[in-house]
Amino acid sequence: MSNVFETRSDAFARAVQPNVRAESVDHAVSVLAQAPEARVLAGGQSLAPMLALRLARPEVLVDVNRLPLTGIAADSGSDSGDGGGEVHLGALTRHRFLALDPVVAREAPLLAAAARHVGDAAIRNRGTLGGSLAHADPAAELPAALVASGGRVILTSQRGTRELAAADLFEGFFVTGLAPDELLTGVVVPRTGEGTGVAFEEWAPRAADFPWAGIAVTLQIDTHGTCTAVGAAACGVASVPVDLAPSLTAAGVLGAVLDDDALWPSIATHVEAACAGDDDRAELAGLLAARAVRRAWMGAMRMAAAA
């Protein structure tokens, strides 16, 4: 009796939830083109719990874990000048690699700093950069780091390949600019130039939790210690990562030597005002932004002193 049922049930299971293991990017995007309700399974650290809870019920699951999307490489850029060039990261780069890879540490240190705050070690071992960006959890660290870095993503479909700036990628709670037939295949961020410092600050009730508020900052100083460029974003405080560059500019960060204690309350106030959500999160975001800017600047100064 039980054999009969097992056979029927297996067939039933296949009929309702086929799981496609993509053998190539072409294969993956061809499935996505045919099945608009498909979901892409990468590290599975968000999607798998949603499946288990039956919150996501995709018609088709496309497992992309075998695709060759794991490389990390820095190019020198077309102008080959100081600060030029970009870092190319495969979408399947696990958070653990992001946190530990020497090229990322040197050329895209904000991504490394953010990755170290993601979940716990087990999650970092499996979770992927592309997965985190495509999932677009507003509390996640990596989307904010990408916005602060001024990075972009590579989207591939049967229609071709296009790029989308981080600022245009995140449209709302778990909503991105990816079309249903597109696969996020790569991430590009500018190489950090000389005099760059970064910081990622966050606070969460438990170490492995999504943060109440997280702040990603990258800034550049000149030989006098004056801030010449700043990129920053907050997570956990709105439906998308909040670009904080305008707030920091308004707070007087650009053009300043960042050793002035009058700056910190100014940053806190401006960033708090830029963050939605409840008061707790906005206030924390402001404070964390002040701390992050100071740490990023100190890091840049240390680097300059060592150079």
Binding site: W203, P205, A207, A208, I267
Partner: protein
Amino acid sequence: VIGARTERKEDARFLVGRGQYLADHAVPGLLHVAILRSSAAHAEIRAVDTRSAAAVPGVIGVFTQTDLAAAGARRMGHLLELPGIQPLEWSVLATDRVRFVGEPIAAVVASTRAIAEDAVDLIDVDFVPLPAVIGTEAALAPDAALLYPEWGTNEFLHLDAASPGLADAIAGAPHVLHERYESHRIMGLPLEGHGAQARFDSALGELTMLASTQQPHQLRTVVAEVCGMTEASVRVIAPDTGGGFGNKQHFLREECLVAMLARITGAPVQWSEDRAEALTASVHSRPQVHEVTAAYDDDGRLLALDVAVTSDVGNPVLYFSGIGPSLVTVGALCGAYAVPEHGWTLSCVATNTCPVGAYRGFGQPQAHLTIERVMDRIAQALNIDPVEVRRRNLLPDSPRPYVAHGGARIDVGALEPHLDQLLGEFGYDEWRSRQTAARAAGRFVGVGLSVLVQGSAPTQYGVAGRFGSWEVAAVSVLPDGSVTVEVGTKSQGQGHETTLAQVAADVLGIDAARVTVRDGDTAALPYGMGSWGSRTAVMAGGAVVHAARELRAKIDVIGAHMGGTPDFSTVAAEAWWHAHRLPEGVAPGLTATVVYSPGRTIPVPNDDGHTNFDETFGAHMTAVAVEVDPVTGAVQVLDAVMVADSGTVINPAVVEGQHHGGFAQGVGNVFHEEVRYSDDGQPLCSTLVDYTIPGARESVTLRVIHRQTPSDITGGFRGAGEAAITAAPAVLASAVEDALAPLGVRIQSTRLHAHELRRLIRETGWRVDAVAFARVDA
């Protein structure tokens, strides 16, 4: 051997993933159960349509209470025997009405769990919504909807007691404080959820059930009752168990459901609770509000304590329900202190939430919070050191036992030297100095104290449930000199295979490695009480001592008869294989089964009106130092020390593990966890993203110093397992309040979550110094 820091025998399999838990026991043809649960907090059920679900390929059947009743299922009860309690019985599956989100309505049996869950989605229930009653205030409001209209109220039970001079003592006291303390709703969360697998052998007429339970024999009794079988025809086996914490002290409707489905289908059937079911539909714990009136004199000595306890018991369709723990609460309100006049009222209130029941600590953390808050309040009001206030109120060192209000026989050692040892180990004066320096620097450092006297090995037999204060052990020396110990307790990870082997080996005079301890199989012993209530060392330990002593005496007789100094295994072989040479009157073999009771408890009032629910008491005193980050509200525990007196310690490492684990849970209970509902009764914590338990990085090191005052019952043992989780809320509340004293923050609940402390701090007008925050160096 007793007292040795032996490595835990069971860890060899647990730590390499070779434990065999319920779901590891797959058998050919095993069918799986998924349960349709109520999505409504309070509703009438007009109809349940199972036709689409039954048509899903792979589904064996869809069952409602109608099917179970037709197959002979009987109703379930709470086994509470208390004056004035409202009448309540329930069926295995809900029929005409549901009273909490998660209440089971129908069951699908299918070839896989996934198919069963798919089919559950297709069951259509026609609900007629009723107003949801959430929280005791709403439940007791004059116009509240009633869970059980036949009661005419939502109050399930009301009891009170008072010493004759209570009112006069309060009226005549120089100082009286009125406070309200709340313990919030949390739950025991064993890593392995509930679960049961059953099969019915129609040829033998026997049902065999594997279940993840703390009390296999009592589960057997309940399953037999519900299935209309004899206890002899039901066998329950509890395999390796991944935690219980009281949650698995209850018998669930689901376990009886599995037994009935095995009878109906004739196939092996398994239900294994998933995390959402565990969080929303197993057992919650702790929600109580205490309205406290405490009278004291100019020296800070308590004159009277009167506490009105309101206990939210959820929909109390649970064995002993939230009432069992609530009875313990009202019995423990005076704690470690001599209180001349004492009274309490207890109101247990039904609400449209998951049933409330046991969690490690069992009503004691709430009582302990209240009395320790009162000690701190007196200290603040009179500007006396909180240590001194406690010292002045401690139970006197004689007589023993100290007979408390109501009749509890408290047999702990002298408390004042115990307190002095704690202050020394903790470095109390040094911490006060550090606190002064920290405050001067604008930092919020505080010190908290907990003086806990705690009953162990309890009985509530005749009052609530089937808690007999006895235990069964069978000890056998086999012909090769190896030893088996069978006990009626059930380890859920506490290390009983190690500790009870140490006890047997100690008495028998052999190496503990020769002893194999088994538990959890009702076929091995006629009955057993299971493990809960800090009872296993005291009760199973005592039973093993008595059985082993019986064998030791027989071995000595046989050895003397053999002449010379025959070794242990030679005597063992003699006893079994050479019966013809044994001394006259000595029966062959070496086996003894003992039913042991210390006999100290008085579960129903005696001629003096006294009751005593505990065989013995432990004494545990704890001090902590904390720093509160006023920006985030996060609390860092800087030091935590417990001087633990659980009598004779069988294995210090195991006892320390109990305290470490209990404290980790306590830290989680107050800093991270809360079971929350929306106003309309929807659970807001159905995953571990929402019910935030501490991980390793949130855990706190508790330093444990043993102080052994043997009890005068067999073995000298006292309970240990519930001490740290009971101490934690009180001691952490005490420390956090002390840390925030410069701001005037008062802690009146167990909610010490960062967001809550942050709110309390902001309410004082304190504001963040952004410069200081930005400049903190990591």
